[in-house]
Every structure is written in C-alpha cells, then in structure tokens.
Symmetry: C2
Subunit: 325 residues, 2 copies
C-alpha cells in the first residue's frame, strides 16, 4: 500500500481524499492543516488531522505527500520546502511561473533524493499531456483549448469583490460555432471573444444599484472586458439551490495535415461534475507514478510529460497488454 498524506484540506484536499478510496493500492495516513485540527472533520474513518507545522515528524510514515494548497502563495513555497523531506505532488497552475517553480522543486528534490511532481490536474495536467502527444503525432497543425462549461473560481471571486455583491457564480462557456469550426479542421484564427462567453449569476444587496454592478462586471479588465458577458441577478436561495456545484470541463483539439489536403482532427474532452474531485483523482494517479519513480531511485522534479501509462496504471503491465492494448 502506498501511504498518502494530504497537506491542506479544502475542496481539493477532500477531492484527493475521495480519490484515494477508489484506488486499492493506496491508503490515507494523515491530513495536515493550518487550521485548528480539532475543527477539521474528515470523510475517512480512523485518520487523524495534524497541524501543518508538525509535518516533518511524519517522514517515515508517508510515501507521497499530496499538496492541496493554492498556486498564488501556498505552492510556490510549500512544494520546494516539502520535497526536501517527502515525495510530493502538486497542482501548481500559474502557467507563467511553471518553469521557475520547476527549477525550485528540481534543485531541492535532487538534493533530498525525492521526486516532486508539479502541475498535475487537468489544465495544466491532462490537457498538457494531450497537447504534447497530439503535437508529436501531428507536427504540422494547430492546437485549440476551450474551457467549460464550468465554474471559474477566480472570476466568481472577482465579482464578489464588487461593492454591493453578496455572492456570485461565474460560468465560462465555449462558443459552439468556434468549436465546430475547429472540429471541421478549418484552422480558424479566433479572438478571445470568439472562443468563450461568460455567464454570471449574482446575488446583490437589497438596496444595491444593479445597473452599476452589471456595468462594473462587464467592463472589468482582463476578467470580463474582452468577452461577451451575461449577468443574471438571482436570490441567495436560488444561488444555493442551482449553483452550488463546481462543474467544469473543456476541450483540447489539434487539427493537422499529413500531406496536401489530408486533414486529421484529434480531440480530448472532459465533462466534470466536480472540478476538485476530478483534479484530486489525477493527483492520486500521479502520486502512484511519483512513488514508483522514487522506488526506481530517481529524484528531481517531474511533470505529466515524464510518465508512461505504465507508471500511472493500477493494473499490471500484463493486464494492460492483454485487455487494454
């Protein structure tokens, strides 16, 4: 059994916990939190919660630590620090800073003889893996990535910061016409506005100026100004009843030519009821690959580009040959 620790117990931590239960070669050993452990209730019988500052005393008890903190401030510090002591897996998703993060983790993991797997999940993660393989197979072509339909946490938070807003949920929605054009192999040049629309469900304070809120959302730079955005004002009850899930998904499509006028389209898509539970499931599969790599005496930073399907698989290689190939 691969002994797993969870470091950070929010939505993603609970997603990892759920995923561990679906994998018969793993068990959850401990959860670490910055909160008072007494206030944290797990979904797994018999497993204890510890203060995050005590983590180093578990070096002999945990094979892989799965880091479930945020990419803005947690993971840039936690992953390089914890890979001094543990094999670690994270879901660092700030694309622009991935190379820097890689170098920080690689240096410390090589010194400690551990493996640090960074930026797993679905994007970065499964989408990146598919982009890389699609490009290797069809080198003469174009990639397209569409996200949604799904809840964007960052955009929902941005709306919540507007004066007069009680709560909000933002959905990113791919534009069907753009998707269809890409699937036909048209290789269109698409603007931001042509690829996705944004739909917002907003709970406003009773006396708030809704016209002003809607204007502030639609004109918000980076977040909404470049998109066709729809704003719906709803009650808090409606928000809780109809928008409490965290669904997401998306599409990676590559179209390319192998000779003149001979086109091919490869598409990989996800439709997820729960973004954190699916992300947690990917992290757990990479925890297995991480453990196996370290068992082979490898060390350093790794990404989805480094592992084979054999590394990830719960079933034996012989089973894969006989039943999956």
């Amino acid at each position: 059994m691969i002994r797993i620790g969870i470091y950070g117990y929010g939505n993603l931590g609970r997603g990892v916990e759920a995923a561990i239960k679906k994998n018969s070669d793993m068990k959850l050993v401990a959860v670490f939190t910055r909160r008072d452990p007494q206030t944290v209730k797990l979904n797994t019988e018999g497993v204890k919660v510890f203060p995050s500052v005590d983590v180093k005393s578990f070096v002999d008890d945990i094979d892989v630590m799965i880091l479930c903190g945020g990419s803005a401030t947690d993971l840039p510090l936690q992953t390089p620090e914890l890979c001094k002591y543990f094999n670690v897996v994270d879901s660092f998703d700030t694309h622009a800073r991935i190379f820097e993060h890689y170098q920080n983790v690689d240096k410390n993991a090589k010194e400690s003889g551990k493996i640090g797997v960074i930026s797993t999940g679905w994007d970065p993660g499964m989408f990146s893996l598919n982009r890389a393989i699609m490009n290797a197979i069809l080198p003469d072509g174009n990639d397209y990535t569409f996200w949604g339909k799904g809840v964007s946490q960052g955009h929902s938070d941005a709306i919540r910061r507007i004066d007069g807003v009680v709560d909000a949920r933002q959905y990113t929605i791919p534009v069907d016409a753009a998707l269809e054009s890409v699937r036909k192999g048209d290789n269109p040049k698409l603007t931001t506005r042509q690829k996705h629309t944004r739909e917002c469900f907003v709970v406003a304070e009773d006396d708030a100026d809704k016209a002003r809120i809607e204007k502030e959302i639609k004109e918000m730079p980076n977040y909404f100004a470049d998109y066709d955005t729809t704003v719906h004002f709803i009650s808090l009850d409606e928000l809780k009843k109809n928008h409490s899930g965290i669904p997401h998904g998306g599409f990676v499509i590559r179209s390319g030519e192998t000779s003149d006028n001979t086109k091919h389209v490869i598409e990989y898509s996800l439709k997820l009821d729960s973004n954190p539970e699916f992300t947690g499931s990917v992290l757990v599969a990479y925890a297995r690959a991480c453990y196996r790599a370290n068992q082979r005496n490898e060390s350093g930073c790794r990404t989805v580009f480094d592992f084979s399907a054999k590394d990830l698989s719960l079933v034996s290689y012989e089973e894969l040959l006989k039943h999956t190939l």
Copy 2:
C-alpha cells in the same frame, strides 16, 4: 537526424513516408519491398528501393526500421526476425495475439540489445494509451470504444470475395444514440448491434443476382450478421469517384464516479481523412521514442504504455514546460 527505413511499401508505407517529411529530426534512408524494386516509385527524391532480402546489409545505416506489413502473416514473423538486427516499430493489430507477439519480440530484442515497439497506430495505439490513462484516473467506471465513420478494409475485402462482386467499400458507423447515452454518463449496456451500423457500397457484375449478394452480405457471420447492415449497389465509376479515400476515426469514452452521484466523462476522438497516413504519423512518433530508448541502452519489447510524452516529443523538454504545460 534519426535514420529511418521502411519495410513494406503499401498504403501504410506511403503513410510513414509522408509523416517523415513532417518531422525535422528524421530522414528516410531506404525502402524495402518484396516486389521488384524497379517497379516501385517513391514519393521522396533521392531515396532508393531495395529487395527485402537485402535488409541485413543496412544494419549500420538505419536507426529505426518501421515495419509496414500486415498483421495476419507478415508481422508475426517479420518483427521478431528484424529486431535481431534493428530497432523496429510495427502496427500489429490482432488483439488476441498481442501478448504472444510481445513475448516473441521481447526475447529477440533483449538478445540483440534493440528495442521493438509493437502495436502502435490508433487502435491499438492511441486508443489503448487513452484507455489506460483514463482507467488510471477514474478507476471506478466503464470504457466504451466506437469506431467510424470509416472504411473497414477487412469488411470491404470480405464483400469482394462474394461471387458476382467486382469491388466494394464498407463503412463502419457509430450509432449516435449510443454515443450520446455514453457521453451523458448513463453507463449503458450496449449490444454489438446497438453500437455500430455497417453501410456497404457494392459494384456487382452486370448479370449478377443482386438480391443474393445482398443476402450473403447481411447474413455473413462475424462480419455482418450481428449488425444492421445497409447495401447500396453502385457503378464502378461512382465507387472510384466517391469512395476512393480511406477515412476513419472513432471515440474512446470513459465515464466514472469519484463519489456518490459525482460523475465525470473523458472522451478522446479521432476524425481522419486517411487511416494509413495517420497511422504512419503515429508510427513515426514512436520511432523517435524507440530510438531514444535504445540510446539510453534499453532493450526489449515496448508498447504505447511504456513511453512518456517527453519520449515522443519533437520539441525540447524546456519548450514543453514553457509552452505546452
């Protein structure tokens, strides 16, 4: 430059030849054929055709030999034999005999210190790779594979063997209702008939009994009897004009749960203008991985389950981290 040889120059051999031109790190060195080399005209300037019996004199000139023979009788003998001298890649696709083929190639490749990559292409190949990864991520779920719309060579050949048939083309078509049910995560139990239909375009001899031919097709065991089959009689001109391509494609879908009532659907699909050109492109990407594995002093049989995206990629790891992750 990775120096490639092509062994067998039919549709697949020409597909591999086209793919090599799209990969800047490879060059075609020689083509081997059982036919009279004088009668074979390549699509690559300056490359020569040699009799297949002379292949062993090229051991120092070729880094990877791509085998483009058939799975029924060619590859079971050729791949184990040629991996005694070369790194080889094949597209062996007789699912029931893959494990036996693996063992034969593994033994000889280990003795010669070469790498033999078997059963690449799209199914087996990309579809197998995706099934394995999807299973690792969503261990609690079901897989579905649909083929088409596309030309099935084996089924077309079966029709051609019927008395009174001049030529024929058979399309395998996935049933939309089945695809939609799977995509919704319904986890349906589907019979053969519910998954695919078969559409046949047949050119009959002038005096042939068309009713008898149609009956023979529709009742043919294994090939057609378990399917809803449609037969169209057309002229040879129509067949040449409208059915000369070899398009294919298909869908691999896995739906699974990560907790009660929390479902996820992963889908990988291909839409191919030319089955042999796409298959050739996959073989060429695995030729790169094969070469790299052998450069690392590895030997033995390998499949799509053994390689990472890094092994397959034409671009550097740093490029992948910066632009693809």
